[in-house]
Amino acid sequence: MGYTITEKIFSRHCSQRKVKAGDFVYTQVDLALGNDITAPIAIDQFKKTGAKKVFDRYKVVLVPDHFTPAKDIKSAMQAKILRDFAKQQKIVHYYEVGRMGIEHALLPELGLVGPGDLVIGADSHTCTYGALGAFSTGVGSTDLAAAWATGHCWFKVPTTLKFIYKGRLNKWVSGKDLILFTIGKIGVDGAIYKAMEFSGPVIKNLAMDERLTMSNMAIEAGAKAGIIEPDAITRSYMASRKAPVKSKQKYLKNDPDAKYEKVIEIDVTDIEPQIALPHLPSNTKAVGKVKNIKIDQVVIGSCTNGRMADLRVAAKILKRKKVHPGLRCIIFPATQAIYLQAMKEGLLEIFVNANAVVSTPTCGPCLGGHMGILAAGERALATTNRNFVGRMGHPKSEVYLCGPAVAAASAVAGKIIHPDAL
């Protein structure tokens, strides 16, 4: 019986012991990540373990990205806990404001994660790195503290739901639309405790930025991971990292007779740009079926859609246009490098000329932290990942989710529209 990529990654981290879906393993991890929300608890817990030093100061990553630049005194205190811990433990991968980016855009960009790695992060969107052929998953602060102390974490090796995307992608349809469509199909608990695997000819041709978007939202279907078999696109992405990590990168493939819990084929030919209506990411509809929904704020960015591919699409639509009066459009390049590249390509100028606001990298508005909080009764259209009650501010506000093309076109129109209708 063959093995899935997920089973192979766990096997290579269990001293070559062959493990199968359903096995409980207590295994070493390659990287253990925390942010300014989750790491303070982990640091507190770490101290309680009695451990003096983290297991490996090169394998702990700390990114203060959620409420930074510090939005208030309490957030500043939290960020300081990270800073002090990083200094005391001589953590190599601590990224201060100015070097920081949104963690799940930053780690792949820096080459800190690669194919075959096993990564945990105290942030649910840690599943993003599945796009690189890594097994990466979100955990809580106590799991993170335990991993920092021991270098190990416990897992139940998940079964795999394999999605095969076939057909021809329509204009304006991106990785975001594919993942929203998929979540709409299986529901917010459709992949609970399982690994999702994205495959097929459409994925083979999908650029890395869009693959990262898809893997990022696997958690919105309850999945433990959103993995993509590493290929030539992965190789070329890894080769272009500025500081490639000399890790145990391995380009693993599924065995031909690997066992999946289910194989689901999706023909993308009929998929239009998608919208997820409040208050679940699974409440999806084709954008054409949503009529006359006026919006107060558009947010383009986040760990889901704040990469170059996203900003380029938004700029293409916003060029020589203005954001609708009475609507705020906030754009967040996800990292400093993306910010700089967008500047060089003239994208930031397009955004500012369109009367959009360009922000420093932060998770800010996505989770209702800062930099664009909604008032009661307001409605936002966002390229972020969650539209739960109160997610972006007041409990009586609403969030609609979409890809960057729909977001940019709707920002100009003042209501939710198909980019072709602009």
């Binding site: 373990t49 409420f67 939290q78 649910s124 917010v188 309850g222």
Partner: protein
């Protein structure tokens, strides 16, 4: 260990933003988090809930973010146990890791209503509904997780192993 308390019933897909909104994540003080537990779906919950009360919910309880503040807030407002048809996986881990008792029971979660008084015998895997005079079974924990539960928390478990 037996837990007895009055039930607060919630629907399915209760997410961590609802359990504790992000605007309160600039602290990890359990009591302070507890003061805002469930605020965006039931503004007065944290004020009305009594120490020892039990949350019962539908499927996928605790979906969304990995914030450990969610089970901390539930503990902080005095809730003694959570029973659901199913749990989102990160919440499930977090609750076990910090020693918040959680149990999966489809029949109990469907039948129990707000205000019912129930008694939970986690060790035997039985829930007694004292109001309705009914008994439900809970799913057993896998042996590996039972070890962590027996140890009291993940940190105690790793300490017992000698780190």
């Amino acid at each position: 260990m037996k837990i007895k308390g009055k039930v607060w019933k919630f629907s399915k897909n209760i997410n961590t933003d609802e359990i504790i909104a992000a605007r309160y994540l600039n602290t990890f003080d359990t009591k302070e988090l507890g003061n805002h537990c469930m605020e965006d779906i039931d503004k007065s919950f944290a004020k009305r809930v009594k120490s020892g009360d039990i949350i019962v919910a539908g499927t996928n309880f605790g979906c969304g973010s990995s914030r450990e503040h969610a089970p901390m807030a539930i503990k902080g407002c005095g809730v003694s146990c959570v029973i659901a048809e199913s749990f989102a996986r990160i919440f499930y881990r977090n609750a076990i890791n910090i020693g918040l008792p959680i149990l999966v029971s489809v029949e109990a979660a469907k039948d129990i209503k707000t205000g019912d008084v129930i008694e939970v015998d986690a060790k035997q895997g039985v829930i007694y509904n004292l109001t309705k005079k009914k008994t439900y079974k809970t799913e057993c924990f896998p042996q590996f997780m039972q070890e962590i539960i027996n140890a009291g928390s993940l940190l105690c478990w790793i300490k017992n192993r000698g780190l």
